[in-house]
Structure formats: C-alpha cells, structure tokens
Symmetry: C2
Amino acid sequence: MENQLSLFYGLSFLTAAVAFAFAVYLYLWVKKQRMENEKIKEVSALIKEGANTFMRREYTVLAKFALIAAVVIFTLLPSPVWQGDVLKNISMAIAYLIGTVLSAIAGKIGILVATLSNGRAAEGAQKGIKPAFLIGFRGGAVMGLLVVGCSLLGVAAVLMITGDSSILLGFSFGASSLALFAKAGGGIFTKTADVSADLTGKVELGIAEDDPRNPAVIADNVGDNVGDVAGMGADLFDSNVAAMASALVIAQSLSGGTFANTSMVFCYAILGLLASVIGIATARIGKKGNPTRALNSSTYVTTAVFLALTAIATAIFEGFSWRIWGASATGLLVGVIIGITTDYFTDDSKPIVRKVAKASASGPAFTVLSGVAYGFISALPAMVGIAVSALVAYTLCDPMGEGYAIFGISMAAVGMLSIVGMIISNDAYGPIVDNARGLAEMGGLGEDTIRTADELDSAGNTVKAVTKGFSIGAAGLTVISLLGAFMSEVNTALAAAGKELITGFDIMSPTVFFGVLVGAAVPAVFSAMLILGVDKNAQRMVAEIHRQFSTIKGLREGDPNAKPEYSKCIDIATSGALRELIPAGLMSILATVVVGFIGGPLAIGGFLLGNIVTGLLLALFMSNSGGLWDNGKKYVEAGNEGGKGSEAHKAAVIGDTVGDPFKDTAGPSINTQITVVSLVSSLLSSVFVAFSIFG
Amino acid sequence: MENQLSLFYGLSFLTAAVAFAFAVYLYLWVKKQRMENEKIKEVSALIKEGANTFMRREYTVLAKFALIAAVVIFTLLPSPVWQGDVLKNISMAIAYLIGTVLSAIAGKIGILVATLSNGRAAEGAQKGIKPAFLIGFRGGAVMGLLVVGCSLLGVAAVLMITGDSSILLGFSFGASSLALFAKAGGGIFTKTADVSADLTGKVELGIAEDDPRNPAVIADNVGDNVGDVAGMGADLFDSNVAAMASALVIAQSLSGGTFANTSMVFCYAILGLLASVIGIATARIGKKGNPTRALNSSTYVTTAVFLALTAIATAIFEGFSWRIWGASATGLLVGVIIGITTDYFTDDSKPIVRKVAKASASGPAFTVLSGVAYGFISALPAMVGIAVSALVAYTLCDPMGEGYAIFGISMAAVGMLSIVGMIISNDAYGPIVDNARGLAEMGGLGEDTIRTADELDSAGNTVKAVTKGFSIGAAGLTVISLLGAFMSEVNTALAAAGKELITGFDIMSPTVFFGVLVGAAVPAVFSAMLILGVDKNAQRMVAEIHRQFSTIKGLREGDPNAKPEYSKCIDIATSGALRELIPAGLMSILATVVVGFIGGPLAIGGFLLGNIVTGLLLALFMSNSGGLWDNGKKYVEAGNEGGKGSEAHKAAVIGDTVGDPFKDTAGPSINTQITVVSLVSSLLSSVFVAFSIFG
C-alpha cells in the first residue's frame, strides 16, 4: 500500500506538470492573438501598470505580515520551540511561507494573463462572439490550471517531504491568511473604484459606464483584475488546499487503510484536474452561440468526466471504497444543485430578478427591501443542500469504522472542489470580458463590438453566481471536516498533557454556547468592517473625482486635450484598501485567540460552529442579493420597467451600488474568513489546551 | 416547604390583584383628562374604530387557527389521546386556549387604553411637556400592569390547578402562537401604512408626516396601535410567560428543593411586578424636564428596587439560594447593558447616527450600506452579553447539583424580564405620543404643541431601542433554558419508550449539524416573508393613494371639502396583513415539524440552536439598523447635513423606509418566532422520539 501512495505522489507531480504545460500552451495561444488598436494598447498598459502597482504595494505589506506570522509559528507551533522538536517548528514555518508564496504567485499570474487577454478579447469581439469568447475563456483557464496545479504540487510535496499531515495545516494557513487579506484588499479596491465611477459617472453626469472622461474608469478596470482575478485566485487556491489538507489530516488519523485513504485524496485531486483539462480543451461555442451555455456545458462535461474517472479508479485500486466515492459524488452534485438554485435567484431570465426590477418602479427603498428579502430566502436551498450532503456523506461512511464519517464529509468537500480548475476558468473569464467591454468602449470599436462584449460580460455575471455557490458550499463542508481535524488535534494535546479527552462539543455546555454566540457575531462584524472600508474609501475617491471635474478644464465637456488624472484615483483606491484590509482580517484571528484563551477548546468548537453558520448565511445572502441587484439593473437598462433614465433605473442603480460591496467585497471574503479561523484554531489547539480560563 | 409554595400562590394572586387595581386607578386618571378639540375627537374616534376593526378581523382569523390547534393538541399532547390520560390532554388543550385568550385580551386592552390616551396626550401637550408625558406614560402603564398581572395570574393558576409543569408549556404555546401572528400581522399593517404614507406624502408631495390630506394618515396612526401596542403587548406577554414556564419546568425536574425553587420563580415574578408598580408610581418629570431621562430613570429605579427586594427575600426564605439570586441579577444587569449599547448605536446624540447622517450626503446607497454595517456591528455586544450572562449563571449555579446550571440560566432570563411591567409601560408610551403628535397636527394645535409632542415622540424612539434589547436578550436566555426543558422532555419520552437517553447535542453529530444549518436559515426566510408582505401590501396601498389623489378633486390642493377615503387605506392594510401573516408563522412551525420527523430529537436540538443564533443576530441587526436610520432621518430633519429637502434628507428618508419593516415588522417578530419554535419542539418531543427517519 505504501507503494500505491508513492505512485500517487508521482502521478500528482506528473499531473501538475501536464496542467502547467497546457497552461503555457494556452498562454502562448492568447499571446499570439492580435492587439493592434493604439488606444486599446495604451489603456491596457495603464490597467496593467495600475494592477501591478497595487499588487506590489499589497504584497509588500503582506510580506511583512507573513514574516511576523512565520516567526510566531516557528516559536509556538506545532508546540513551543523550547519544549518540542525544533525541526518540526522549522518545517511548519517554511510550509507556512510556501503557502503564502504560492498564493501570491497564483494572484500574480492571474493578473499577468488577465491583462494580456483583455485587450485581445476586445479586438476579438470585432470579429464576433466566438474569437472573443475563446480568448476570454482560455485566458481564464491559464489561471485555473496554474492554481490547481500549484495546490496539488504544494500539498503533495509538503506531505511527501515531511510525512506529517499537521505540517499541511501550516501550509494551508499560509494560503488562507494571504487569501484573506488579498480578497479583502482586492475587494475593497475594486468596489471603491466601481462605486465611485458609477456614482459620479452614471448617476451624476449620466455618461456611460466606461466613458474615458471619468477619472475613476481605469481604477475600475484595475479593480476587476485585483479583486475578481487575483483575489478570487487566492481564494480558490486556499479553499482547494484547505479541503485537501483537512481530508489528509483525517485520512492519516484513521486506523487501518491509512495509505489507501491518503492515496484516494490525491487520486481524486488528480482526476479532478484531468477532468478540468478535458473540460477546458473541449469548450466550444458556435459563431452565434450563447456564451452562458458554453460555460455551463463545459462545467457539466467536467463534472461527468470526474464522476466517471473516479468510479473507474475506485473499481481498479485496492482499498478504494465505493462509500467514499458516493460521498464525493454527493458533494459534487450538491455543488451543482447549489449553483443552479443560485442561478435561479440571480439570472435575469428568471422571475426573481424581474420582481426586484418591478419593485424598483416604486422607488429605491423597495429595490433594497425586496433584494434583501430574496437574498435571505436564497440562502435556504444552499444551506439545506450543505446540511443534506454532510448528512449523506456521514451516513454513507460511518459504517466503515471510527473517524470515517468525518472523512466522508471531508471527501464530499474534495468532491465539490474537484472541478475547481474549471470553476476558476469560468470565474476569471468574467473580469477579462468585463475589461474587454471597457476597452472596446474606450478604443472606440463601435456599437456592434460593444454589444458583443456586453453579451460576453453578462454571461460572466451569471456564471459567477454558479461558481460562488461552489466555493461557499465547499467552505461549509471543509470547515466541518476542519472541526474534525481540530478535535483530533485537541485530543492529541490533551493526551500529551494527561488530561481527559473530549468526545464532542455539546451545545448544552455553556462554554460551547458562549463560543457559538461570539463566533456567530464575527462574520457580521467582519463584513461590516469591509463594507465600511469601501464606504469610507469611496467617499474619498468621489471627492477626488469631483475635484478633477471642477479643476481640469474641458474634462466634463469631453475636450480631447483634457486628460483626467487616472493615477490619482488608482492611488486613493490602493492606499485606502491597504489601510482597511488588515483590521478586518486581524479582528477575526484575534477573536479566535481571545475566545480560545477564555473558554479553551470547547469554546473554540462552538466558536467555529457559530462562525460557519452565520458565515454561510451572510455569504449566501450578500453574494446573491448583490448579484440580483446587479442583474436587476441590467434588466432595466435593457429597456424594461421604463429603461435607462427612468425612476426605476435610478432605483436599480442604487440597489446595484448597495450590492457591490455585498457581492464583491464582504460576501466572497467570508468563506476565506471561515477557513482562516478554523485553521488558526487547529494550529493553536495545544496552546488553548495549556492556557485557558474557563476551558 | 409545600406551605411555602402555597404562600407564593396566594401572594401571586394578591399581587396580580394589586397590579389590576393600580391599572384601573391609572385608567380612570387618564380618562378624567380633558379632550375637547372636536377635530381631535373625530380623528381619535376614526383611529379607534380602525384599530378595533383590524383587531376584530385579525382575531376572527386567529380564533379559527387556535381552535384547530387546540384540536390537534387535544389529540396528540402530551401523548396521543388513545394512549394516555384523556384528562391531561383536555387540560393541555384548555391551557393552550387560555394562553391565546389572555394574549388576545392583552392586545385588546392595550388598544383600548392607547386610543383613550392619544388625544388626551395631544391636548395635554398644549399645557406643556409634563401633563402630556404623564398621560402617555400612565396610559402605557395600564397595559404594562395588566400584561404582567395576567401572566403571573395565568401561570400561577395553571400550575396550581394541574400541578403539572408540562401543561404550562401548552399555556405558553398558546400565548406565543397568538403573539407570533399578532406581531407579524400588526407589524405588516403598521409598516404598510407608514411606508405608503411616507412615500406618497413626504417624498412625492413634500407634505408633512401627518397631513390630513394624505389618505393613509389614519391607517398610519391605526398601525402604531395595532403594531406597536397590541403586537408588542402580546409579544412581551409571551416572553414573560415563556421565561416563567421554562424556569418552572426545570425547577420541577430538580432533585431536592423542588418546592423552594418553584417558590423562588414565583417570588421573583411577584417582586418584579411590585418593583414595576413602584417604578411607575414614582415616575416624575419636571416642567421643562427631559422625557428620555424620566423614562430611563424609572427603569433604573425599578431595577434597583427589584435587586434589593429579591436580596431581602433570599435572606428571609428557607431554601432560597444566593447563587440563583446572582444568576437573576446577572441577567438583569446584562439586560441593562444591552440596552445601553443599543442606545449607543441608535441615539442621535451619539456618533453612529451622525456618521450615517453624514454618509447620506453622498447618496442613499451610502445610507443603506453604513446602516447595514453598523447594524451588523451592533449585534456583537448584545450577543457577547447574552453569552457571558449564560456562562456566569451556569458557573454560579452548577455547584448546586445536577440540572441547577440550566435552572440558573432560566432564572437569568426571569431576572432580565422581571421588570417587564416597566418595560411595557415605556414601550407603549411610544406609540401613544406618536399618535398624539399626529393628532396635534391634524387638530391644528399649533407649532408649540407639535414641538412638545415631537420631543415626547423622540424620547419614545430612543427608549424603544433599550426595551428591545431586553426582549431580544431575554428571548435568547429563555430559549437556552427551553433547550434544557426540551432535553428533559425528550428523555422522559425516551425512558418511556425504553430507549437510550440523550446526554446532549454534539455538533459533530451530522444529525445535529443538519438541524443547525436548517434552523439557521429559518429566521432569515421568516424575516424575508414578512418584509415581502409589507412590500407587496405597500405597493397596493400606494396605488390606492395615487388613485385618490387623481380622482378626488381638490384633495391634493387642500380644499377643506375634499375628504380622503381613509377607510379604503385601512381596509387594504388590514386584508393584506391578514393574508401575509399566516404563511410566515406557519412556515416556521412546519420547518420544525419536518426537521423533527427527518432527524428526530438530535436534529431538533441543533435546529433550535441554529434558529436562536441567526435569530438573535438578525433581530439585533434589523432592530438596530432600523432605529439608526429612523433617528438619522430625524437628525437630518433637525437641520443637519443640509436639513429638510436636501439630498441628504432624501437619502435619509430612503434609509428610514428600508428600516421600517426591519425594525417594526421582521426584527421584533423574530424573538416570538424563536420562542414558538422552541415550544413546538418541547411539546412534540414524544412524537419526534416515536417517529423520525434518521433520529
């Protein structure tokens, strides 16, 4: 069986190499595409420069944070350095740093490809929907393949070298902590620019979304890249690593079949990556094809290929269990179902978006109220889906022996995330074509091209909802398995301290209950801090835009010699985002530490539960209501309920502005926050066992 | 010791009688006050008639519901009628019906006094702040005294006659189920009218809030009565009964000291009522006094008197424990602290409201976003407070023996609600003076009087936030103790069925976890249904108002011969509210039943936890952000950030409209929803033990 595991280590490296090679091929293909329009070249270069400046400044701040964290980790983890094995502490700190570096690379490469693809996709749109779609999609796929390749490579290498799955938690924490700040920082940047550009441009002046007169327009396009591409890449890298790490920690704690179970985790990850490669390679669109359908059908192809390949592997390999396969399959199918129901709430061809658009005719308060209400309702199917998949996975795997039930849940998360390569490709496609639309307008490519780009952009919005369902659902399942990982870490520490082991977290215990209530408040406060960050930052940027319009002569009137100072806006978004991103992330980590020191491991168990419960609810609510408002506005702009310029349109724009930080700043940061908090808890379990007031 | 209990039964009846006598005295005092203005008499009669019509129609619907529920209860509870003791089933059904009837009476009397006081308070305001304050406050106090007297009387009578505390759960369920529908129905009514009146009057026509030309103005004043008076009375009656019932169920299950503990619950309830009587009797305000300070100082007097009296009782009576006293005192103090922090977030002399007002200058999206963000943050101190009080109560009482820890938590809830008589008085004061303000305007009593009435009204808004903190906090603690009551009921049923007892609800169990996630989604869906109810209903009413303005000649211009058809608006609010109130309440009850049949008692334990956690979060968020927006608007109207008519004002009005159903429909209904779900679970525990799929 140990040979089997070696085989899978080898296959993991090989598959990662295949993914990298395919990514390079797609990168070269995109690069070969034509980009000749001078204006587009110029603006594209500005976007690239702005994004790179932000990333450089962000990573400078985060590098300091990571180094401090690495020192703390070296000193304390897995056990205080003066008590334990120094080599282990060094490994943990190095694994942590590798996690942060790989996460940073994922973001950086995403930016590189996205800023390469956007201008080319804009020019592609001149020739029709097919070439533009392929450029956007393949640009996104480069990022998808690299992220998943990196996570597979990193996890396999760390485990093979150290042989100790708890070091994986350090690696995963590196990925998550960076993702938390990258997502928050990028989210604040992008929405600061978006909200300010919309308010000053669309609402006050009545000019088009990407009008080059608007000083915030480049910052807005930069934001798409640093928020939706880099942030999202770091986020899904983190989710994928966390799901694999928690499955591997549990697999190694299982009595009997350790190697087979560990192999199985790698096997599923490998097959998921291969399925994504196949899905990406087969993505096709007709000349007049529907881009939403093209994206969705690639997702379904990937899903089917993954299910078939894993079934074959389960039949072939010794020690692979059909029950575990069932758990993974359930996770993946529930992910698809969550995606479909999310789509129901956010797609403008479905009734909900139309109802909200209709409510807008009665004024903005009704837009907001109905969006909030449907956002609340939209959380129900996803939460029931996650609950059911956990229940099914548990029930399927429980008969296999002690610990297998939780392993089943962790494999449901691995299953849900198996097609993450495909998901990232779809997700990164969105901001690329969104940028392409802006470039088409700024480059003056004409109405037809803009319309084609609009169609591509709208598909990006819809598909985003589906992929968000996956990442939130997977975070839910991952955290349940991390709760299992946390309990096993705590019991190891308790056994070492000669104390009584814990058997679970009973909600009738006031310590657990204390943790639950505090944990439940954290995602709300975290979201609030991010929203307020956008709020404050956008007020600063709006003031700057007003200043430019009033002091730069001819700018408002469209004099071609009047140049807006784009870089000032980029600078405000950057420094504001950097100022606001640390407090929210730090607050969640500190809250975990404080609860742990007050209530010990039992309180932390409750804390994680409370955190995940309201975290899921708020993440689903905010992502979906935000998507709903965005598409509601698009629906009105398409000429419904009075169309552009009507009262309904004004109300819909307000709804969209409220939704912006919901769906692109707070909502998608919450799942990273949940993961970080879980990992901090697991890593500090021995500390909490040793020092706590009530624990 | 049995003699001691008999003593407290006797004292309970005596105290209730004292409270009733004092209420009658205050009622006669209010009635004696002058009401001579013809216009005020006329409008006051219209309000009274509208409120009574709504109540009659609402109670007709609810009577049918209650009768059906009574038949179901008779058939199934406490055990199926064909298996158990028929007499017990009859007692349970009768106790249920008494609970509903007392709840209905509480609402009805509240309306009676409120509609008696409003016109008198308006005329009192002509003479100054002092007489108007006393009329409003004493009118509210009549309701406060009657509600608390009824709950003490009802609980004591049911327990004394049946001697079976589980019958109390039936009584409590009667109170809660009616409160759920009354709160939801009244909440939908009041906000339908308020939102429609504001949108058509303030926003579209730019006329004052209570301008008699507006066809919705009477409906708006009726709404204050049926939502804030009748609904709130039913709500706090329910909370108070539930807290006492759960404490008594646990007291009776304790080994040793049963009588002393039961006596203690009654003793504390009696002393709380006496403390409220003293607080009400000593309420004073100077000629130029500050009404907010007067209301708050009566609350503090009541708190101090309660703590002193219970300390004396604990010293005197045999078997009374200082640990339990400590738990109650902690509950009460935490309630006060929650109130103070809530005040910090919603009072316009504090920074938060001013920040939101400032954000409004950048547009309505910023009003909404900053209000949502601060609303999220405001939940933190209250949730931590509830968590800490549960932890302290548990830790204090745990050494007393098995079961005492949970008893301590239930006594913390009883402590928090001990001053409920005072709280209701303060709460009912609000809508009375709100109505008085409207009547002063419609009766043409002049600017000075309106300004006096405005000052009284603003105090009502601030104090409301404090009292809401109490009721939400108490619901939190009550539900923890109901969870304890549920577990003891389940174990009784399991023992009877010869099955293994449960020792707790471990969140690592997937059945518990399943319940947690589904339970967590329920308050969100419940809130959404209520908000959508207001939304739909208000759209209908706005259409009707537009119709009246366009078809009734001279109405818009203020021709004194043009009479708006007030009754049409009242009718729309009524029938809409009745249509929307049943589904939301029924959904929460059905969700409980479905989860119970799927996952059995373990899933229900999780369900209750999930329900309470997100229920608390959403209730605090919605109540506080709603209060924040309301006072933000008032702050702008007072001349800040550009004052009335400015862009900031328009944005603030939109924020207030969003906040209306948050703070007066969904937010305050959630704690009733939590209580109902807990009681349904406890009552059906034997059914879930007998029939469930995974349980």
